[in-house]
Structure formats: C-alpha cells, structure tokens
Symmetry: C2
Subunit: 322 residues, 2 copies
Amino acid sequence: MPGEFDLIRRYFDSISGDHPSVQLGIGDDCALLSTSPNTELAISVDTLVEGVHFLPDIHPEHLAWRLIASSVSDLAAMGASPRWLTLACTLNEPSEAWLAMFSKGLAEACQFYSLVLIGGDTTSGRCQVFTAQVHGEVPSGMALKRSGAKVGDAIVVSGTLGDSCAGLAMLTDELEGESEYLLGRYYRPTARLELGKSLRGIANAAVDVSDGLLADLNHLLTASGVGAELCVEALPLSSALCEFAPESAEKWALSGGEDFELCFTLPQDRVPELEPMSERLDLPLTVVGTITDDREIALLKLGEPMARPAILGFNHFGNENE
Amino acid sequence: MPGEFDLIRRYFDSISGDHPSVQLGIGDDCALLSTSPNTELAISVDTLVEGVHFLPDIHPEHLAWRLIASSVSDLAAMGASPRWLTLACTLNEPSEAWLAMFSKGLAEACQFYSLVLIGGDTTSGRCQVFTAQVHGEVPSGMALKRSGAKVGDAIVVSGTLGDSCAGLAMLTDELEGESEYLLGRYYRPTARLELGKSLRGIANAAVDVSDGLLADLNHLLTASGVGAELCVEALPLSSALCEFAPESAEKWALSGGEDFELCFTLPQDRVPELEPMSERLDLPLTVVGTITDDREIALLKLGEPMARPAILGFNHFGNENE
C-alpha cells in the first residue's frame, strides 16, 4: 500500500474542490471555513458499518452515494443547504481499484449535492467503517425541527415509501425479480434538499425517513409531544413496489427504512400550497394523516383501526443521528 | 442491550451541555449552531481504531481522554479555541459499565477543553472505531498554518518529547519499569491550547507533534517549501525519560508520536518573547533548530552531522488529519 499521504492525496484531493468559503482545505491540522452571516450551521454525522448498514460486496460507487445521500438527507430535513463534508474512512486493505471507484462515486455525489470535501481521516481496521459529517447553512431561525408539530396539522410525505426496502430485499434474494427502479432507490437515494428549503416558514415540523415512516414519525411526535392518525391507504406507493411486492408493499411503506423522503407537518390551511410545490419540484407530496393529541400513532385503513405492524422500524444498535 | 435511543440518551445526553452558541443539540436530524462574527471555523477529524491506535484493554476513561486530546491538539496547532464536538462510536457489544466509564472520561475531557458535545452516531461493528470531530473558532486571518515558515526562522517545541512513546513502551513491556509520569503522558496528553492562542501573530508556522517530531516537522517544511537544521542535543527531554530509557530517549524524542506538543517557527527577533510566554504558561519552550532553504532536515549533534533514525515517524495507514 502507498503511504497515507499518497493515498489521501491521490484519491481525495481531486474532490476537495475550491469554494470561496474554504480558507484552507485538506493538508493542514484543521480546515478553515468562513461561515455566512445571519445563518446557523447545521451539522449531521452518519456512520455506515460493513455488514450492518451495507453488504460487503456493495459497489464502491454505490456505497459513496448512499453515504453522502443519507447524510445530506438530514440537512434536507432541517431545510439547510449543504456546504462542507468531512469523511473518516476505516478501510481493510482496499485495492487501488476500489479506492478509485469509491472516490469517483464520492466526487459525483459531492458535485450533485454541492458539497466540498474539506478534511477527514483514513485509518486501517479489521472492518470497514465510514463516517461522513455534513455541514450546511440555514437562515437563522428558519430551520425545520422535529419539535414543532401542532394538533390538527396535516402529515405529509414526499415521493414514495418502501422502495429502498424492496430494492434491498431483491439484493438479498428475499424478493424475487429485478427492478432497476427499486434497486436504484436503494443504491442512489435522493436527499430532498429542494423540498426542505421550500418548507422553511411553511412546515411546523419535519424529519427524514431513514428508519421507516412509523419510527421516524414517532421521533417527530415524541419531540412535539403529540400523536397521529395515519391513513394507511393514503401511503404513496410506487407502481414498481406494487408490482414486485404486492403483499409486502404496505408493511415496507410503514416500516422499511432508507427511502430518505421527508415526513413533515403543516397547518391544514396551508395544504393547498402543496400542489404547486409538488409540481414545481416534480415530486409527489401526499397527505397521509393528521396530528392528534393522543401521544401515539393510530393506524386507520378505510376509516377503521388497524393493527400496527410488529416491526416499528430499524433499530440496529444504533444509526441515530444527533 | 437497550435500544439506541436509550443508550445515547443515558450516556451522552448529560455531556451535551448548554451553551448559547448551541441552538439545537443532540436529538434532531442536525445540530444547529451559531458561529461568532469575524471568526473562521477550524475543523479537525480524528479516528482511533482498536488495535491500531489503542490497545484493546485500554481503560475507557483513558481512551476518551486520548481521543479528545488528540483532536483538540489540532485546534491548538491552528491557534483556535475549542467550541463543539461530534462523536461517532462503532462499538462491539460494550457493557454498560464500559459505557459509563467512557462517558465519564468524555465528560471530563469536554469540560477540561471547553467542548460541547452536539451530536454523533452510535453503531455496532466487529471492531471498535471512534471518530471525533472538533470544531473551533479563530479570529479571521489569525490561524497558524503549516505553510508560513521562513528561511532563518527559529524552530521551537513545547514541553518535552518522547514521553508518550516511552509510556506506551512500558504498557507493551518493551520498556522496563513503571513511571506514573510517562504513563500519564501517554494516557492523558495535554493539548497546548493556550500556547496556540498565544502564538497568533507571532509564529510563522505551526504543527502539533502527533506522528513524531521529524515526521510532523517534515509536514511543516513541505507545506512551507523550506528545510531545517535540528540540534539533537537541544531536544527537550523529561528527567523521567532520561532515567527510564536513556538509550532510546533521543530516538523517541525525534520519532515517537503522540506527545501532542506544538512545533512552531518564528522570526529570530521574536525569540526573546518565548521566555516570558513560557513562564506565563508554565510550559518549556525550547529552540531546537533553524529553518533553512535546503528542503530537507539536517540533524546536527554538537555541531556535527548525524545519521537520521531509520523510523521517520508513525505511518500507520493512515492517521493523517485533513
């Protein structure tokens, strides 16, 4: 293996692009950044561990995209704009080919999300561990939090749910068939940044769907001290999910993680703003329920109470951000 | 094991102290921070891997201190003041006793260095990996960089060198005897924050001694495009190092890592400022050489050229910051 400096220089320096905010990037004891006036800094840390959060044989480009998208999704959920990335990689004797593909995916994902790589640490270990920290900016006082949901608010989700879970099930042969769409939703999830920014001043509370709708909505409800009624038949499902997994679709939409859609609440009188927003963003925005004062989630199907699926959501020890 | 939320809440929430700059700490998709006007943000990431950077049986309190001190040392080398910490822990079935001790050490180290824990991620894995990211602030344009050394500058090191390496050698039975002082220098190194701040506007370049003096000075020289003459007999050695390891003292002072002292350069006409600074900080500051235009390090002993030790410094793949 080449020395640490060679390795980092060769594969990561090209990604550490210039930006006026970066006074000093990779190569000193610290990176130095200029933050924008009248903004708050939004910071999120995500770790992906081999065998826990990704399969050992994942293509390194997909790994890089998933790592960045899952991190950026937390910025989206706050209504923040991505700025800077640091990356700590613990690697187990990677080949140069692996590094080249990983850094290619990383460079593409950084460009897609307007992130500048400013630093990190590369270490060797018996298992592969990747920790990405993303830093965004949001106008002061405008961040979307989990804690602002009000009784009577509409509950909305973006895109479609359960697709990523179905894609993973195909990869692990739990689900028959092969759908490029569903695999793509697993491999290259899209953080909903434009939606997050559009929701500033409109949504009362927001969270990204990383652990599954029920689990993440539950975080939002707990932080807000409220409950919810969810209309299961309203859940947005992709045609691919309904085609390949008709029996599991509803369960995965409720409990499957890693779709990285946003779940947010807003006052009923602002619901009419969703349709033009959806058209502008080319992204479905679906009302799936209402905030209640019950402090729990009531599932309704065609108006009747429904038993909750046994699996509330991912609870691998841990995968919680912040 | 308790669920991820319980675990994080129980052991890390108490550390996530209040600070006016923290608009939102642990518990949402992102932390939200207010940065100070007219400052730059200094960021450094350090990963410690079990079996590579620490022994598997290290006391969790020592592990926490080493993790934080090694990260904060990078802020010291830039002349920055510590503000916020994030921590990504990949754990292998830790006991609650382990977690309690680790979080105790973490809380103490955070308090000692005025760091506020604002977020992180806790995951399970086959090996233990800890990534700390520290965020500091430094008045705009005042950060100490590696790149500013000028030909003729004096080269100065703080404290004493080689102690941490000797402490580790005692732990691994490579060195006979037991010295609380040397073990303490390994277990609880002290980041030289006050020195770093005092050097703003005085030092031309600075680096912290994490990989060993020769290796770290070499980084500084490369960044500055200059060389150095080092007077080996001038290296500051502790009496404990000379007592327990008389034969290795010089080698470890040159090549042993993790003392987390600062190595900096300053114009000769400012050297007289070192003595009052040393007294004020109660920290030895020793001139050990001169910056040259040779682009390499010449070692001198009593004025005569000396062969360079075979080991230039740590180069575990990788351990480089930024």
